[in-house]
């Protein structure tokens, strides 16, 4: 009886774990607001929120200029720097999206 309960318990736990491993690609898209700021929207392909995900603005040499987080609407706004730059949306290992500043347009 105990063994059966243990097996069932493990199976249920296994299903619970499987539920967490959804197909889940990170997505990030940025645009120029035309007022000296840029806004990035983040998300995942299953629609789940990107609130709290770390955002980094790097200059042309890879130096981190600004560090921030996606807000509760999964958005991040910062001042647009002069010269070449990159935005990084970092949701953990294997979940990094990089956007080149030259692709960020109005």
């Amino acid at each position: 009886m105990r063994k059966q309960l243990l097996v069932i318990g493990l199976l249920v736990f296994g299903i619970f774990l499987a539920g967490q491993a959804l197909a889940h690609t990170p997505l990030c898209s940025c645009y120029d607001n035309g007022d000296g700021t840029i806004t990035c929207e983040g998300g995942f392909s299953d629609g789940s929120s990107a609130a709290g995900v770390e955002m980094r603005l790097l200059d042309g040499n890879g130096k981190v200029l600004i560090k921030g987080k996606m807000d509760e609407d999964s958005e991040f706004t910062c001042k647009k720097p002069d010269g070449p730059y990159k935005i990084q949306f970092d949701a953990g290992p294997g979940h990094l999206v990089e956007v080149d500043g030259k692709d960020i347009v109005e």
Partner: protein, 271 residues
């Protein structure tokens, strides 16, 4: 002489048999599964998408707006009525008033475009009609509110993403009137059988396919007791679904009134 008589007879038969059904309110933009946001050009035409035997004159539109949502975010509503510009659309047989709109869509997620035309008086039916129409666009692959009712008095709510269909997929939807499913209603299904020439405001003269018989021009299917329907998509391109007369209003200016719920889908070949 005999030839002329035959031609005249043929034309007379055609004139008498102009179908009162098969009207479709197009809310057309060439791409609805976009990688990035941008400027969307819409052509809004009241016509017969498969046979293109007659383009109808549109009256002043009642409403045009978009409901946008990305993931778990808030749904944002944007009124687009002021973007509508009257144009003349040319079909095979005639030209008539239609509308166009250029809409900037920037955010990732779903954008549910809703269009309510002005009521149209159909002489053959001796009734007013109005096709409340939805076209859903997705940017960037993040889903949003595609499966949520838009809150229209009548609408088709998709059970499959209208913008992410391969040729051969089954498209399913639920017909709602005042938010409640409409049992066993008739739904017309029609394919846009010509290139829509955006620069010329016209349909191309040639058809993609020829129907073996009239029942293939406007295909009629039925919803089940729960208001659900399904349709296997045989060819890439645009398919319109119109649930007939399902709107709650049955009278307009003291005459019969039929509001249909319409949704557009686009299928893409798997290559």
């Amino acid at each position: 002489m005999k030839k002329i008589i035959f031609v005249l007879l043929g034309l007379a038969v055609l004139a008498l048999s102009v179908p009162a059904f098969a009207h479709f309110q197009m809310l057309y933009t060439p791409e609805i599964a976009l990688e990035k946001g941008g400027q969307l050009n819409f052509k809004i035409v009241w016509t017969h998408p498969f046979a293109d035997e007659h383009t109808m004159e549109m009256t002043t539109p009642t409403a045009f707006y978009v409901l946008s949502q990305r993931g778990e975010g808030k749904v944002k509503k944007k009124d687009l009525k002021d973007k509508l510009k009257p144009i003349t659309w040319t079909g095979k047989a005639n030209s008539a008033r239609a509308y166009e709109a250029s809409v900037k869509v920037r955010s990732m997620g779903d954008h549910v475009f809703c269009f309510v035309p002005g009521p149209y008086y159909d002489k053959h039916e001796e009734a007013w009609m109005q096709q409340i129409t939805k076209t859903i666009v997705n940017v960037g692959g993040i889903p949003g509110n595609w499966a949520e009712p838009a809150g229209l008095e009548t609408e088709i709510v998709p059970l499959d993403k209208p913008y992410a269909l391969w040729t051969g997929n089954v498209f399913r939807g639920i017909v709602l009137s005042e938010g409640k499913p409409v049992s066993n209603c008739d739904i017309e299904v029609e394919y846009i059988n010509h290139d829509a020439l955006m620069d010329k405001n016209a349909f191309a003269k040639s058809n993609y396919v020829e129907p073996p018989q009239d029942a293939f021009i406007t295909m009629t299917i039925k919803a089940n007791v729960n208001g659900e329907f399904s349709f296997g998509i045989p060819r890439a391109g645009w398919w319109g679904f119109a649930a007939l007369g399902v709107g709650p209003e049955k009278e307009y200016k003291g005459e019969k009134f039929n509001a249909d719920a319409v949704i557009w889908i686009k299928a893409v070949d798997m290559k």
